[in-house]
Each structure stands twice: as structure tokens, then as C-alpha cells.
């Protein structure tokens, strides 16, 4: 269905998302395929149980049999009977920087992917449609690399202490001031790991007696952070504002379960871009609801920071909203800055509180200096503070590449999910065999893609997830698109009913 939100009072631009339904026949054939694989999985387990077939997976030794089992046998059923069969499409070793093109280490398996061997050859110049490299800063040469190299010589690589002890460097403070300026907030704090930024800071923000309203497709780090906090968690349907408002109303009207005391805090947790769906959060509506019901808002911009908005400031910039409206701004430096780590931005009192209370500040070694320098240099480039327009051109280039890539895929007849402006483009595969086949066929054509299947996605929504980059030239995109079209014809993947007539 096309969710096109017209220009209501809230939106400064058309908000167009599409999630075309799975064709019924394809859904039935997908279940049938999983059914056949499950039956053969049971057959294989039976053969392994009776030692008819050699068992490759880890299992207890005979002497350990009487202890509590270490390996949950059934929990690895899918891994050993489905994933193993096609896992050559995952975790491919690369031997270059994950830029627009990359070099893959060639490997072969002689036992149906149980073990791999390197052939010693390198697959050169594979077009990289899988990495998160939205602005193309994943480079091993140029301005950023040189600056990071200089800092490495000066500061060394490791910090080996926490922010609250010896690990608080001037480089971190410089970076935090720049991030605050970039986001347009009072203060910010950076952490050495993106995942930990969520999982270690949410427990510092909420606790018992608080309510967290979380989108059903939130990232595992948000889920873990919410669980660690000990708050009550309620899940609303993905990007569905009616569902969110209903939960908010219930929470305020009924209060806490059993005692009906009012909630100490209500924290709404959403992401800017959902990287598996390619959808953009309906932020204007979320902010309107937050103001109406006096809740707090935690916005995870892991994918949208740097990739969305005319100035690359993320989903707030994209919708032209005020950063003051969001209480906690979070994001990572992995996807758009060619670095690693994450940040939290917001009011100065919030950041000072986190500096004292955050698990990461107390226990985790702080961010490595060359990484901090990479972020500083790339962020200044995006802001135009390096005196060039490279950053702005890349943001522009990414937006054009995204629109072009999505439009062409839709014209070819593929079912793609998400927002027209999202640089993450999920192309639906559906059947389990097509997951492996697509990854293999695309590599034959020198295109590196990421494929995702059940249980990381709903069982009838396996997909290939393309990440467009500003570093992709139009020629690269055209080569990739023609390969995708060719493989799409081969695998019969052009399911869309709304195929645009050429």
C-alpha cells in the first residue's frame, strides 16, 4: 500500500512510503519452501542422531552428557539446517576499504559450507551495494585518512582508560563540541561503540516506574537498553501513530499496572531510518504526540544522521524541525562518517547527568583518537567548515543516487519497501532459496549485496538490502541495476503489481 501523507500542517514535504503486500501465491510457495526445508532438517538431525551422518556442529563430549546441556539443540535448528546451506552469501571476507568498490577474498567450500578454504585469489573491484557508507567517507586516502594518520602518530591508537579516569582527551572534548554544533543542541557526549550508546544509556535515563514506548522494529541495542533499564516496555506497531497514541492514552489514563500510580516518565523510543524496512520515522507526528501527552522522546539516528536532510543533519533537518523538540538525540558515526562509535546530544544538564551516571562513562574505554579525528574531519567536511563544498556535494549526490536507484528498481517491477528518500533500499526476495541464489548470482556479476531472511525478517519477507552511497557513480549504479534486472529475470523476482510502464 502506498502511505502518502499529504501536506498536512505537520509535514514540510510529501511523505511517501510504500510496503506492497506479498502476493498470495508467493506467500504460499514461501511457506511450502520453509516446510520442505524443515522436514529435510528433521531428516538430517535424525541421521546425525544415529551417527549415519557426521555431525559438524559443536556438541558436548560423551563425558559431559549428564551435565546441563551447553548447546540448546533446537535453538540451532535453523542455523544448522537452513542457514548453513546458504551461508556463503554472508560474512564474506574483504581485503580493501568498504568503499564504493571493494576487493573480496575468494573462498570455496567442499562440504556444503560447513568449512571454507581460501583459493588465494582476490575478486577485484566488486561494486559494494551492501555496506553502510552513505556519504562515501570510507576511504583509505584523502583528507580524512591523512588527518587520522597524523593523530595516530601523535596520540597513539588505544586510550586504555575510561572517560571518568585517564581516558578523557582534548580530542574527545573537541569532538563533543563539534557534534553539539552539528546537531544544534546544547551539549553532546560521544561513546566508543554505537550499540553501547543505546544499551548503556537508556538504563541511565529510565528505571522502575517508568514506561518505554518502543517501535516494534527497533534495533536490538534499543531493545536491550530498554530491558536493562527495568522499565515497563510497551511496543507499538511500526511507524503507526494511531497505535502509539492509543498506548500513550492508555498509559496516562490507567497509569501503572495494579497500583494505577501515574508513570514517573514516559519515554518514546524511535529510530530515524529503519535500516531493514528503509522507512523514515513520522517524526512530525511523533513530536506532536509527545507534546500533547507530555512524554519524552529518544530518537536514534544511527542511519539518518549524515544521510538525510539538505544539510545532512538527519531526520530533524529532513523535516525542518527544531532539535529542541527531541529530548535525547542519539546517533552513530559508523554509517555516514566512515568511523565507529555513537553520540548522545541534548540539554547540557542531561549530558552532565549522563557523564556522571552512564555505564559507558564509568566502565568503557573511551573512543580511540584516530577514530575521533576521522569523525571531526568528516563532520567538518559535511558542515563545510573545511572550506570546501565536498560535504554538501556528497549529500546532494546521495539524495540523487537514492531517488534514481529506487525509481529504476520500481520501473523494473521489483517490490521495494520504504520511503522514497531513504538510502536503504530493501528489494523483496520472499522464497528462502532465492536468498542464497540472489547473493551468489550477484557476486558472479561482481556486485556485492546483503541478503536477509527469517528470523531476522518476517518469514514471508526475505529481502536483499541495498545501501546507496554518495561514492557510487551513475555508471556504477547502472551496472548494478542492469545486473539486478538480469538476476531478477533469472530468479523471477519482479513481483510488483504496480510495474511502471516504460
Amino acid at each position: 500500500q502506498n502511505h502518502v501523507t499529504c501536506n498536512g500542517a505537520l509535514y514540510n514535504r510529501p511523505f511517501s512510503e510504500s510496503f506492497e503486500e506479498t502476493p498470495m501465491l508467493v506467500a504460499v510457495l514461501t511457506y511450502m519452501g520453509y516446510g520442505i526445508l524443515t522436514l529435510f532438517g528433521y531428516l538430517r538431525d535424525f541421521l546425525r542422531e544415529w551417527k549415519i551422518e557426521k555431525c559438524h556442529v559443536a556438541q558436548e563430549r560423551e563425558e559431559q552428557r549428564d551435565f546441563v546441556p551447553l548447546y540448546q539443540d533446537f535453538e540451532n535448528f535453523y542455523t544448522r539446517n537452513l542457514y548453513m546451506r546458504i551461508r556463503d552469501s554472508w560474512n564474506r571476507p574483504i581485503c580493501s576499504v568498504p568503499g564504493a568498490k571493494m576487493d573480496l577474498v575468494e573462498r570455496v567450500s567442499h562440504d556444503y559450507n560447513w568449512t571454507f578454504e581460501y583459493t588465494g585469489k582476490v575478486i577485484k573491484d566488486v561494486i559494494n551495494m551492501g555496506s553502510y557508507n552513505y556519504l562515501g567517507f570510507a576511504e583509505n586516502m584523502g583528507y580524512c585518512a591523512d588527518a587520522a594518520a597524523d593523530v595516530t602518530m601523535k596520540y597513539g591508537i588505544g586510550v586504555s582508560s575510561t572517560r571518568q579516569e585517564m581516558g578523557n582527551l582534548d580530542k574527545h572534548e573537541e569532538l563533543e563540541m563539534l557534534v553539539a554544533k552539528f546537531l544544534g543542541v546544547e551539549a553532546s557526549m560521544v561513546f566508543g561503540m554505537g550499540f553501547a550508546t543505546n544499551s548503556m544509556n537508556i538504563p541511565a535515563l529510565t528505571g522502575k516506574g517508568c514506561l518505554i514506548l518502543s517501535d516494534e522494529l527497533n534495533h536490538a541495542s534499543l531493545v536491550l537498553g530498554a530491558r536493562l533499564s527495568g522499565s515497563t516496555i510497551r511496543v507499538f506497531k511500526h511507524n503507526n501513530m494511531q497505535s502509539l497514541e492509543k498506548l500513550l492514552r492508555d498509559a496516562i489514563v490507567h497509569g501503572q499496572p495494579r497500583t494505577h500510580r501515574p508513570w514517573k516518565k514516559i519515554l518514546i523510543v524511535v529510530e530515524g531510518i529503519y535500516s531493514m524496512e528503509g522507512s523514515v520515522v513520522r517524526l512530525p507526528e511523533v513530536i506532536a504526540l509527545k507534546k500533547k501527552y507530555k512524554a519524552y522522546l529518544y530518537l536514534d539516528e544511527a542511519h539518518s544522521i549524515g544521510a538525510l536532510g539538505p544539510r545532512g543533519r538527519g531526520v530533524l533537518d529532513y523535516f525542518g524541525l527544531d532539535p529542541e523538540d527531541v529530548d535525547v538525540l542519539m546517533g552513530t558515526f559508523t554509517k555516514s562518517f566512515g568511523a565507529a562509535g555513537g553520540y548522545i546530544g541534548g540539554k547540557k544538564e542531561l549530558i552532565d547527568y549522563l557523564r556522571a551516571q552512564s555505564h559507558s562513562a564509568v566502565y568503557a574505554t573511551s573512543m580511540s583518537s584516530p577514530v575521533a579525528e576521522q569523525i571531526i574531519t568528516s563532520m567538518k567536511c559535511i558542515m563545510g567548515e573545511d572550506g570546501t563544498t565536498i560535504g554538501r556535494e556528497r549529500i546532494q549526490q546521495l539524495a540523487e543516487n537514492t531517488t534514481y536507484f529506487r525509481r529504476r528498481l520500481r520501473e523494473m517491477g521489483f517490490i521495494i519497501y520504504g520511503n522514497n528518500d531513504s538510502p536503504v533500499v530493501p528489494v523483496m526476495l520472499y522464497m528462502p532459496a532465492k536468498i542464497g541464489a540472489f547473493g551468489r548470482e550477484m557476486l558472479k556479476r561482481n556486485i556485492g549485496v546483503v541478503v536477509v531472511g527469517f528470523p531476522a525478517t518476517p518469514i514471508i519477507e526475505s529481502r536483499a538490502r541495498f545501501c546507496v552511497s554518495a561514492a557510487h557513480t551513475k555508471e556504477m549504479l547502472d551496472v548494478a541495476l542492469s545486473a539486478i534486472s538480469e538476476v531478477g529475470d533469472l530468479l523471477q523476482m519482479k513481483y510488483s503489481k504496480y510495474r511502471a510502464l516504460p
Binding site: E21, T22, M24, A27, V28, T30, Y31, M32, G35, T38, Q72, F74, E75, N76, F77, Y78, T79, A220, V223, L224, R227, F454, P455, P458, I459, I460
Partner: protein, 130 residues
């Protein structure tokens, strides 16, 4: 269990099972219906009420590991549409089997016992009972 096409696939699967049994030359129609009913209920019992946990790792710190598929369905909420559908379907199959076996006593007893093995575990009162 309530994602798109799941109920249709289940219905087609039962129909396919019946056709496969029907195509075995030396089975009579009553025997085929009783076999369809018994095999269907055995499969439903194993997959919904015997196997515990999930065939893949879940981020819920092992909470689902001790629950059967039926108990995990819809996060344990009772009387959802999926639960109703999978409760009614063996009953319908039982009526069909009874009709086509012309209410023969032996078939009736077999079919009734088989039906109870999948109906009793579905009762809300037995949720989480071991």
C-alpha cells in the same frame, strides 16, 4: 501464525496430505479420511504442543525456551484469531472424517481420541500447565 497466507497454506497442506493418501491404491476412502485426521493431528500435536523453544535464537534471554509453540503464539494472549482458527480446523476435519467413515465405531473411536489430543492442550486453562 497470522501472517499473510499462512492459513491458506495450512489448508492447502491438509488437502495435499489427503490427496496423497487418496492416491494410495489399496486404501479405502474411510481409511484415507481417518489417516488424514490422525496424521494431521499428530503433526499438529508435535509442532504446536510437544516441541518447546524456537528453532532460532531469540533476544529474549531464553524466555521462550520452555514454552511450546502454542503458548508462544501471540505472546500468550488467548482467544486471538489464530488460536480460534487452529482450534476449529481439527474439529472440522473430525466432522468430515466421521461423515466419510459413515460413523463406523472403530473409526469413530480412533478419530475422537486423535481429536482430543489436539483439543485438550489448546484449552486456555491448560496454558503453561505441565
Amino acid at each position: 501464525m497470522n501472517s499473510r497466507g499462512m492459513w491458506l497454506t495450512y489448508t492447502l497442506g491438509v488437502a495435499l496430505l489427503h490427496v496423497v493418501l487418496l492416491s494410495i491404491p489399496f486404501f479405502s476412502v474411510p481409511v484415507v479420511w481417518t489417516l488424514t485426521n490422525v496424521i494431521h493431528n499428530a503433526g499438529m500435536y508435535v509442532f504446536l504442543h510437544a516441541v518447546k523453544g524456537t528453532p532460532f535464537e531469540t533476544p529474549d534471554q531464553g524466555k521462550a525456551r520452555l514454552l511450546t509453540h502454542w503458548e508462544q503464539l501471540d505472546y500468550g494472549v488467548q482467544f486471538t484469531s489464530s488460536r480460534k482458527f487452529f482450534t476449529i480446523s481439527p474439529i472440522i476435519l473430525y466432522f468430515l472424517a466421521s461423515f466419510y467413515t459413515k460413523y463406523n465405531m472403530v473409526h469413530f473411536v480412533i478419530n475422537t481420541c486423535s481429536l482430543l489430543t489436539v483439543l485438550i492442550p489448546k484449552l486456555p486453562q491448560l496454558h503453561g500447565v505441565r
